[in-house]
């Protein structure tokens, strides 16, 4: 196990390096000039020049990159060009928000989708099955900003039962925060349900056809027991990995949701950083997301091998 973790760590580092280079290249080719973005296009050339010098943007790109990376590993994420404040706090705040949102979304969608997938598998080929899969698909393709707007209008404006913005007033308790996060998660649930349910269904269908489920049934176990003890556990591993691969989207890809629900998450931060050509901010965001993503996938793999004794214990036959 230790060796496994070490190799994974090594690989992760490589990935992060590649990532940082990618982003650096990106930030370099992004359009426009940092200062003129900050001061606006109508600002005077002299002012722009002055600001660029102040931000140290007149030093060569590579040295800026190295300087940043050096700092990053010392835990110093540098200073944001646009906000002119240390990246650390900005990022932390955004990450926490994104984590909250992702957590709530997953808490809702995962059980829902798994349940749906299993039911569909049990009722394979029936109307129930088709309905679940088709609805899943339909929901999956409704753009977030459409479903978002609709739920906003219905629940926040017309019924006025839930808040419009996702950001809870500072210092509010867990429940209130969750209450604020319900609306924005609905579109996410829409997006994710279809896919996760689909994978779960596939896994379950396979397991249901397996010899050992037949054995269990022929043992005379009640259906419920068969599903609980024999089907679920073996059907889940694929789902676990799929959920993990969605993390990238859940952290980095929620720009639309965050704009719509005026939620200060990392997606929006990245979006603005990218448009503002705010290299330190952008690079930090992406790297942090990368770390999160890799950690989660690693955890997923561990979970996967926990569910799979064959992988966990290796073969001794």
């Amino acid at each position: 196990m230790a060796r496994f973790l070490l190799t994974r760590l090594g690989l992760a580092l490589i990935t992060l390096f590649l990532l940082s280079v990618l982003v650096f290249a990106a930030a370099e080719i992004f359009p426009g000039d940092v200062a003129s973005k900050i001061l606006g296009p109508t600002a005077d050339a002299r002012a722009i020049a002055a600001l660029n010098t102040e931000l140290g943007l007149d030093t060569p790109a590579l040295s800026r990159y190295l300087h940043f990376i050096g700092g990053f590993f010392r835990g110093d994420l540098g200073v944001s060009y646009t906000y002119r404040t240390p990246v650390g706090p900005l990022l932390l705040d955004a990450i926490l928000n994104s984590l909250k949102l992702a957590a709530v979304a997953l808490l809702i969608v995962v059980p829902l989708a798994i349940g749906g997938g299993i039911v569909a598998a049990l009722r394979q080929g029936t109307l129930v099955d088709r309905t679940i899969t088709s609805l899943g698909l339909a929901a999956m393709v409704v753009p977030e900003f459409v479903s978002g707007i609709v739920v906003l209008l219905v629940f926040a404006v017309w019924l006025n039962v839930l808040p419009v913005t996702a950001t809870a007033p500072p210092g509010s308790g867990l429940l209130t925060q969750v209450k604020y996060l319900i609306l924005p998660t609905i579109p996410l649930v829409f997006v994710l349900f279809g896919y996760i349910a689909r994978v779960t269904r596939a896994g379950a269908v396979e397991v249901l056809g397996s010899d050992y489920v037949r054995t269990a049934t022929l043992k005379g176990l009640p259906r419920r027991t068969v599903i609980r003890r024999h089907v679920l556990r073996n059907a889940l591993p694929p789902t676990v990995t799929v959920v993990a691969t969605q993390i990238g989207y859940l952290f980095g890809g929620l720009v639309v949701i965050e704009i719509l629900f005026n939620y200060r998450g990392i997606g929006l931060l990245i979006f603005n950083a990218a448009r503002g050509k705010d290299f330190p901010l952008l690079e930090s965001c992406v790297l942090v997301i990368g770390i999160l993503y890799l950690t989660v996938t690693l955890l997923a793999d561990l979970a996967y091998s926990l569910l799979n004794p064959r992988i966990r214990l290796g073969s001794t036959t």
Binding site: T133, S134, L137, A138, V142, V199, A202, V255, F271, L294
Partner: protein
């Protein structure tokens, strides 16, 4: 001892009957028939929408903006007074070029990658795997902005972006399948015959993971359409005045809370109908292939 990167949305299907009997079994499934009809309809619209569109979807009439659905505007008009019905009909054109092409790009690239990673394993797998991870962790926005800057805003850019973002997902799925396939004896048989790696990957193994790829593609197509719309939302997508569905939704979703639902609803329904039908067909095919 690592978990399969990205499990198949459906188990790899074992075998296939001949083409004709495949068709026969397809025609027998109502879901497939309905699906293909809808897809066919949209394809027709994309190709020859002008023939059935009652009005020119591009002529604006600002004074006649946001008329609710009525006799002479079946789906009403949008904020610039363009006929929503005609726009929905012709809206199929861009999506049916961009989304499938993007998906194709992603699936082709991803499949090639997956085959390589799965068949060659070892170092190739490790290195490519890292890259794939990196891309997976890279937020789409950043990719989009990069591409946008590098190639300027255009359908090609959109295709490129989505294809690029999708390929790693496909790659992972295919890889897992290939890892299993390569252990089968027909692969050894090919090596015994003296076939090269490329031949084995693309002529021997590929056809056997095709059903899986197909299913993946259908799911991806759904996301592609979705992604196109979302890119439009942040201004990187298909460009006005295209009647593209996603774009139309983006242009008019803000009006919903003014009670102007029609310019958003109808394109949204169009998208849904297309994607669901595509998936119905794909499911049908892969089921038929399983038999």
């Amino acid at each position: 001892m690592s978990a399969p990167a990205h499990p198949a949305p459906m188990p790899v299907t074992a075998a296939s009957s001949g083409g004709r009997s495949l068709l026969r079994s397809l025609v027998r499934s109502p879901a497939v028939v309905v699906g293909s009809l809808v897809v066919a309809f949209w394809v027709f619209c994309a190709v020859a929408g002008e023939l059935i569109a009652p009005r020119d979807p591009f002529t604006v009439e600002p004074i006649a903006g946001l008329l609710p659905p009525s006799g002479d505007h079946l789906f009403g008009t949008d904020s610039l007074g363009r006929d929503v019905f005609s726009r929905v009909l012709l809206g199929a054109r861009d999506i049916l070029t961009v989304a499938p092409l993007a998906t194709l790009l992603g699936v082709v690239a991803g499949t090639a990658l997956g085959l390589l990673m799965g068949y060659r394993r070892g170092l190739v797998d490790a290195v490519t795997g890292r890259l794939v991870d990196a891309v997976l962790a890279l937020p789409t926005v950043v990719v989009a902005l990069m591409a946008l800057t590098a190639f300027g805003p255009s359908n090609q850019t959109v295709i490129l972006v989505i294809g690029f973002v999708f390929s790693p997902y496909v790659a992972r799925t295919v890889r897992t399948a290939v890892l299993a396939e390569r252990e089968l004896e027909y692969v050894q048989a090919a090596r015994v015959r003296g076939e090269g790696s490329l031949y084995i990957m693309f002529v021997e193994i590929l056809p056997n993971v095709a059903p899986l790829v197909l299913v993946e593609a259908s799911v991806r197509l759904g996301y592609a359409i979705f992604a196109v719309a979302t890119l439009s939302f942040i201004g990187f997508g298909i460009q006005p005045p295209s009647p593209d569905w996603g774009l139309s939704i983006f242009e008019s979703y803000g009006l919903i809370n003014g009670g102007f639902w029609w310019p958003t609803l109808f394109p949204a329904m169009a998208i849904a109908s297309l994607v669901i039908s595509v998936n119905l067909v794909a499911d049908g095919i892969s089921e038929a292939l399983e038999r």
